[in-house]
Symmetry: C2
Subunit: 605 residues, 2 copies
């Protein structure tokens, strides 16, 4: 294809809001243009790459036995009300009323639509397992869309949903999808970090996120220097850095005056000790708690309600005291997961005062009965600690876990940080920022139960199938490939997703140069190599810059000088190579074809 | 692919609202399922065919030099306000407010988005002509969605937009698109009727609709029995069926009493003559009239206003008297086009009384000065006619055009009907109902002017480009192929868009039959033939019925009886053939491959 016959309006300058490399390069190389905040149009060059990502994903999904279908983008709000997400999804869900006032949703994901489709068709266990997927437009009304297509409002997602008779079958598909995802990212030239992630509001037990390292990543990852452990901070664990003593040999609890001392730092300095000696106690408010609290301290009067007719009952609001060793932070995502709560937030000062009977700063587990006490595992090793005494300007010393207080629940709510020890091998953990490209997880029965899906087993007995869910963001995958593969001059495409394989740059598209450029182009295209021929009447420098900017893997420069003489030659250069080399004109197409096929094979193998 | 590995839940019964063949068969053959009114999901088998239609369209667009891009489905309402269609589009436009109250549109078409994109990138005439297209989701909030995907709310459309420096360039692309459209429909196995259509509210001059004959068609077409003339009734012309006399030799106008006579039928019977002797006069109200009325009778006081800052000025409301020969009907689409009006409707009785000074039924052109008189061309031949006398129970006789009244405008506003004469060859016209699959038209400057698009010519002078617009509905194309190709047993796919080329039906998928079925499948797949292998443990009758229903072009039956003996054979049958024939097992794959390639070549040539 000739440059004059396509539409590649490259730019030298980009708007100031394009702060990350991929956003800047996608604008400059004319891959995308902004239509509105968080809404981008793909131009011809960008769409060629986008379609290649799409094709790779489709091939791997098909190979994994998933079946492509195409539900609508606009779906009935009724389905979202059935699942309960009409309410729980919040403002990110774009809701629409049509001309007669019916509710619709511009799909951000499609659990409901797929579950409803399968519900209507499923009768026998013989139809399972069944994995369906779509590659389709999604919309999420991001508060702050930014970073180009990396966090846009409209995007394209491949989302797959699988249905199974049992956990073993779900696990088999889950593993198969994990392998397909690894292949997809490899074929796109991406280095991903597979991490165990919290599956948050989606529910379910098994879950793996596919992350790429990114300075603007939404996620903090903890990785082990010694083994391949990787986890999202929201779920990361670590090896205990404490030992519980065999017995408690601590003096009795003593109440001491701590005037005007409220923070741990002030206490450390006041008592001349360090934070590891303190039991930090925080009061949390949790919303829509699914965990059973009927036997929990202070919860007798709490009333459950059902957010949707078939959803499990929840406590709309409940308070908890969470204790942890003073040098550590509470991980609120872990806490929410333990409580099966929609959200946890630090309680307001007035609530803290009501619950602890003291101003903020003096909470502690000893004698606290108004709310359930949840202790992080670190607290179980503390036998001579300091804690708030539930009264202004007073603390307890010599507090011993098990002797002076017994929490309602002991669990892991610790925020793991760099320097902590790997839970697998004990190696040192370090942090990276990451962006999620894909996510596979076991949804379990969340949707199939609330939306009443059933099948008959071999004996004619009715059961609810279990479900898995597998997503990849296409736009983000494309942008991440650029983040990983570029230099100061522009993009360096992995050949599998490059808009073209080869760019031919005639110094001046005329006479013998034109003839040679046309002939190489024709020979390459005959071999299935995708060629862009820069036939513009521009200075060579402009064409070279655009070739570098658009990142096409191989560049061929055709000039009068090298064509002259008995042995006409052209220059060939790989995009990431520094120097070009001369090859004979008559051998050029063959050599380039071999290079392209080699590179494609390497990534696709 | 094995049936057990895909998802083809065929049905025997379909809901009663599925009244047309394609809707019934698409449900029964498990191509689609209904998600909600006018919203359908494509299942695996349907999506395979859908993607083939998509690929054919993409190939032909690319071959015609159009460049694919991908704007968003959800677009800023601002763009629609700029073009004026935010208001003019009515309730079919799905409008959305996002979380911060900004207006968005779920695109029904994309003139605005494409024009805005080009506006931002266009600088020089060198960039023109430019044709961009997308194949993307669209939404139109149909009042009464029905007939399955034939008239759904969400659908996929290929829409292309071209930009040009002049009319000649626009015409060249328009012709190229016309050729591409003919190829697309041919390749999909569709018989289309290309008709000159009214371009209605879209404006512009050249336009061609690609129709398929359909009993449930939205359009009435007039076709010539003698030549290939075809037109939408909204725009159809005909050969004059009158001759204007050289001179008027008619007695003077005479006013006669016509008590209680209001309709033409009553007049005919009262005066004992026929409707062709009457000048029928209708009073119309037109909305948003763009035509200049500054010199028109009775219009001196009308005030123009601008619907959008850069839109041309319009008269919000104006009245007209339209006269036509008494046996004919006024074509309101033609009338609106002539007036450049958004809408024309018959005036209310009170308006008629005010304008004519008489009750409804006595309007006539003689002496009428309160509104402009528009005469259909048929009236110019009437020299001894009857017309209303602008007074209760009175008519004029001996009315002569040109002598007794001179209309403000003479034009063609006649509704052509079956039996009228072809405007090209004079042959007899007949009517058909048609459904529009595609539409190409010259938009002209409508969007480029209101949205202020400009480019610099060779001399650095600024100009506005002219524009063309070209759409095809994918869902409707697919459904129409089924409407054209089916029998009582099911679909008969044109091979180019069949979900599979060959279906292998083993009588019992076991032993030697299984081995033979697997081997034919493998051999065919090696040759690129798409095979569905019905490996289900079902009765042969069930499998045969499903094979017929899903309409796969070639069926191979593999059974023990034919495999036995020295010369093992299988049965081959084309879907539209009545009888099957036996071919040697070892020759089957080769023969089928040849048949498939022959059929593909025939449609694709």
């Amino acid at each position: 294809m000739k440059v004059s016959e396509t539409f590649i309006p490259t730019l030298r300058e980009v708007p100031g809001d394009a702060v990350i490399v991929s956003h800047r390069l996608m604008l400059r190389a004319a891959l995308i243009r902004k239509l509105s905040n968080g809404l981008f149009a793909y131009l011809p060059l960008g769409l060629r790459s986008f379609r290649k990502v799409e094709r790779i994903i489709r091939e791997e999904m098909d190979a994994a036995g998933a079946l492509e279908i195409k539900p609508t983008v606009v779906v009935p709000g009724e389905l979202w009300k059935e699942s309960g997400r009409w309410d729980s999804m919040g403002d990110a869900l774009l809701r629409v009323k049509n001309r007669v006032g019916s509710d619709f949703v511009v799909s951000p994901t499609a659990e409901e639509a797929f579950t409803a489709l399968v519900r209507d068709e499923l009768s026998s266990y013989r139809q399972l397992p069944l994995t369906l997927y779509q590659i389709n437009t999604k919309y999420r009304d991001e508060v702050r869309p930014r970073y180009g297509v990396m966090r846009g409002r409209e995007f394209v997602m491949k989302d797959a949903y699988s249905f199974h008779t049992d956990e073993a079958s779900l696990d088999e598909t889950y593993q198969k999808m994990g392998r397909a995802y690894r292949r997809i990212f490899k074929r796109c030239g991406l280095t991903v970090i597979p991490v165990r992630a919290d599956s948050g509001a989606m529910g379910g037990t098994g879950s793996e996120e596919f992350m790429v390292e990114s300075e603007i990543g939404d996620n903090t990852l903890l990785l082990c220097k010694a083994c391949d452990y990787a986890a999202n901070v929201e779920k990361a664990g670590c090896k205990p850095d404490y030992t519980a003593p065999a017995s408690v040999e601590t003096p009795h609890v003593e109440k001491i005056d701590t005037p005007h001392v409220r923070t741990i730092e002030e206490l450390c300095s006041f008592l001349k000790t360090d934070a590891r000696q303190f039991i930090k106690t925080l009061i949390y408010k949790a919303v829509n708690v699914e965990l059973d609290l009927s036997a929990a301290p202070g919860c007798a009067k709490l009333v459950q309600r059902k957010p949707a007719p078939d959803a499990p009952p929840v406590y709309p609001e409940a308070f908890f005291a969470v204790t942890i060793r003073g040098d550590l932070d509470v991980n609120e995502v872990k806490l929410a997961a333990i409580l099966k709560a929609a959200e946890v937030v630090l309680a307001a000062d007035t609530d803290v005062e009501r619950i602890t009977g003291a101003p903020v700063g003096f909470a502690g587990p000893v004698g606290l009965t108004s709310v359930p006490v949840i202790a992080d595992e670190t607290v179980t090793a503390m036998t001579d600690a300091v804690a708030g005494a539930l009264a202004k300007d007073l603390h307890y010393t010599h507090v011993a876990y098990g002797r002076d207080f017994t929490p309602w629940l002991v669990t892991d709510v610790r925020t793991v940080v760099a320097g902590d020890r790997c839970p697998v091998c004990g190696g040192e953990l370090y942090e990276k920022k990451g962006n999620e490209l894909g996510h596979i997880f076991k949804l379990g029965y969340k949707y199939t139960k609330t939306m009443k899906v059933s099948y008959l087993d071999v004996n004619g007995k009715s059961h609810t199938p279990t479900m898995g869910c597998y997503g990849i963001g296409l736009d983000r995958t494309l942008a991440s490939a650029i983040e990983e593969h570029h230099d100061e001059a522009g993009i360096i495409w992995p050949i599998t997703i490059a808009p073209f394989h080869v760019i031919i740059v005639p110094i001046k598209y005329d006479g013998a140069v034109k003839a040679a450029a046309d002939s190489i182009t024709a020979d390459l295209e005959k071999q299935g190599v995708e060629v862009l021929l820069d036939d513009r009447n521009e200075r060579p420098g402009v064409k070279f810059n655009d070739a570098d900017l658009t990142g096409i893997p191989y560049r061929v420069v055709v000039g009068d000088k090298n064509l002259a003489g008995e042995n006409p030659r052209v220059e060939i250069k790989g995009r990431s190579e520094k120097d070009n080399r001369l090859v004979e004109l008559k051998a050029a197409a063959e050599e380039l074809t071999a290079l392209v096929h080699r590179d494609l094979a390497e990534l696709n193998q």
